[in-house]
């Protein structure tokens, strides 16, 4: 029980921070909208971290899964005018179904081969978004996605959407934390370290891999639905190979197998370019250099860096009375 309490303290602190952020930013809605976007990415990254950081399975197809959910809800609510709940549930459901169908054969592959297979899947979906013009609106995008409305409350302001997205981040974080402290979490970590040992303990490896792949796709699906109804517009270019690689970067930069780190990575990589805008032509170069330096000097990501900093501080203050 006390361990549960210990877990909940940082979560509560996180909640307070989220609540306070709009006031800290003095209601600067521009930064609020960037943080909303960062929150949407953080949800995907949390799921991807379960898959990559804990179970050790890579996916370069999460950008596509994110897109499937976004397009599904877009088409259902935008083209066919179905209720938002139908769009949201089908968006997440279809994403999970696709993930299951693709995961079943593909998760037998390992390492770079798995990376390639998921990349191929992502590319095929991306081409479908581009070419199924009648359905998706093609390369120029899908216009006219309705504003999100839940039980009569319309999420049309930046503030309300910010709170909505970040409460979903909190839910995703809590469930992920719960999961890694359960037998499923132990099984995932076990199969990451040694598949042989894990299966010799009675862990059905194929099923656990599929489970975490589908679970992470559900996270990506929720993010996709939130994204579509936030921008009210989707285009294929947001769901390509580049985005999938960026998601992986967020996980690794934040810290593999650290859920907090994943959120930090998503926020860092989404917010950083906003500060680099001042440098115009140098922006890309600085972005690349920061990425290189972070990975070189923070091998355990931002989370690892913060932990080290904290323990250094603690040691210093511990010694001096």
């Amino acid at each position: 029980m006390s361990s549960t309490l210990r877990q909940l303290t940082p979560v509560a602190a996180f909640f307070l921070l989220v609540l306070a952020t709009p006031f800290l930013l003095r209601h600067d809605y521009y930064y609020l909208s960037i943080l909303t976007m960062a929150g949407i990415f953080a949800i995907i990254v949390l799921g991807l971290n379960l898959l990559l950081g804990f179970a050790g399975q890579i996916s370069l197809g999460h950008g596509a899964l994110f897109g499937i959910a976004a397009y599904t809800t877009a088409v259902l609510t935008g083209t066919y005018g179905l209720p938002l709940a139908v769009g949201a549930v089908s968006g997440v459901g279809l994403t999970a179904l696709v993930a299951m169908l693709i995961g079943m054969p593909v998760l037998k592959l390992k390492g770079y081969y798995l990376a390639m297979a998921t990349l191929g899947f992502g590319l095929i979906v991306y081409i479908f978004f581009n070419e199924a013009i009648g359905l998706t609106g093609g390369p120029s995008g899908f216009v006219g996605i309705p504003v999100l409305e839940v039980f009569g409350f319309v999420f049309d302001s930046d503030l309300s959407y910010f709170y909505l997205v970040w409460s979903m981040v909190a839910v995703a974080l809590l469930t992920s934390l719960n999961l890694i402290h359960s037998k499923y979490g132990r099984a995932l970590m076990a199969l990451h370290i040694s598949e042989t040992a894990a299966q010799s303990m009675g862990i059905n490896i194929a099923r656990h891999k599929l489970f975490v792949f589908v679970l992470s796709s559900v996270y990506a699906g929720i993010a996709g639905v939130l994204y579509a109804h936030y921008l009210n517009f989707v285009a294929p270019s947001s769901f390509g190979f580049h985005f999938s690689v960026q998601l992986i970067t967020m996980v690794v930069l934040g810290g593999m197998a650290s859920l907090w780190g994943g959120i930090a990575g998503a926020v860092f990589l989404t917010v950083m370019p906003e500060f680099l805008r001042f440098y115009e032509n140098l922006e890309v170069i600085i972005y690349g250099l920061i990425l290189i330096l972070c990975m070189m000097f923070l091998p355990k990501g931002l989370a690892g860096g913060v932990c080290k900093l904290l323990s250094n501080v603690r040691r210093r203050f511990g010694r001096e009375p």
Binding site: P105, V106, K108, L109, K110, Y112, Y113, M116, A117, L119, G120, F121, L123, I124, I127, F128, E131, E195, T196, F241, H242, V245, I248, T249, V252, L253, M256, N281, L282, E283, V284, I285, I286, Y287, G288, L289, I290, L291, I292, M295, M296, P299
Partner: protein, 293 residues
């Protein structure tokens, strides 16, 4: 479909496939010594082409000299990359190193954009643009240059890895770095050599395909991705497989575009690749890794 058209598709597939194959070879060389995938491989190809154009305009030394300069310069970039970003953290985990190479690729793109802008550039063809007629199909001489040079590079690499002591030492590093160190091979030197070699191969690829396909600061992204697909398709770590994977990918795209649908040609190619991977989980010519218990 008549024979001439089929031949034309084949010619297109082989030309494009050779460029994928050369990119894939670069991936293989670095993978073999370090076990990582170098995401900046596409940027080596881009640098080869762009630098050749730059040297042509800047120094105007004639095409062959410009090409030579570009290849040498790109090889030095490979050396610098290893020295500055890989060697200082050589004990880092594979995924961290891969993200480092992503960072390098972004930085290289940014630098090229800064110095030479976002324009598309072209090099003059090595021996004119007059097409050669062959059984109803037409091929421009540059395609033959590409095919020929790709074959020569592959043959040289094969010789290098199997005949020379240095090449064998590089292979040894990939199998058992500790054992390699014990028998007196400097793994650091081999890793450095592998980065230079793969930058060299990439630059050669970039230089020979620029007259045909043109180049700009961002061509490396797509070539890198296709090259990665090719070396996985062929079986990671096998140079012959990488080259074959490239050719197969190119041919799949050409025939997919010509016979089925040009809109879905990449999708067709990747569906086939997925099928092959499910059938052979270690690629066409890869050795399945047997897990020891």
């Amino acid at each position: 479909m008549d024979l001439a058209s089929l031949l034309q598709f084949l010619a297109s597939g082989l030309t494009v496939g050779s460029t994928y194959g050369l990119a894939a070879l670069g991936f293989t060389i670095i993978f073999n010594t370090t076990g990582i995938i170098n995401f900046a491989q596409g940027e080596f190809v881009m640098l080869g082409g762009i630098l050749a154009v730059v040297f042509m305009h800047w120094l105007d030394p004639g095409l062959p000299a410009a090409i030579l300069l570009a290849v040498v310069a790109t090889t030095l970039v490979g050396l610098l990359m290893e020295r500055l970003t890989i060697r200082p953290v050589r004990n880092a985990s594979a995924i961290n190193l891969i993200i480092v190479t992503i960072g390098v690729s972004i930085t290289i793109r940014g630098l090229v954009m800064l110095f030479w802008g976002k324009d598309t550039y072209v090099l003059p063809a090595f021996s004119g643009m007059a097409p050669i007629h062959l059984l109803g199909a037409t091929i421009i001489p540059q395609s033959l240059w590409i095919l020929g040079i790709a074959v020569v590079v592959l043959a040289l690499l094969k010789g290098f890895f199997s005949r020379t002591i240095f090449g064998r030492a590089m292979l040894a590093c990939s199998f058992e770095p500790r054992a390699a160190r014990l028998v007196g091979i400097s793994v650091e030197r081999m890793v450095m050599a592998s980065f230079m070699l793969s930058a060299f191969v990439g630059a050669v690829g970039g230089v020979i395909l620029t007259p045909l396909t043109m180049t700009s600061y961002d061509v490396g992204v797509l070539l890198g991705m296709k090259g990665f697909a090719a070396c996985i398709l062929g079986g990671l770590g096998n140079p012959f497989g990488a080259a074959a994977g490239g050719l197969i990918l190119g041919i799949l795209e050409a025939f997919g575009a010509g016979l089925v649908s040009s809109a879905y040609k990449d999708a067709i190619a990747f569906v086939v690749i997925l099928g092959i991977l499910l059938w052979k989980p270690s690629g066409l010519f890869g050795v399945p890794d047997t897990e020891r218990v």
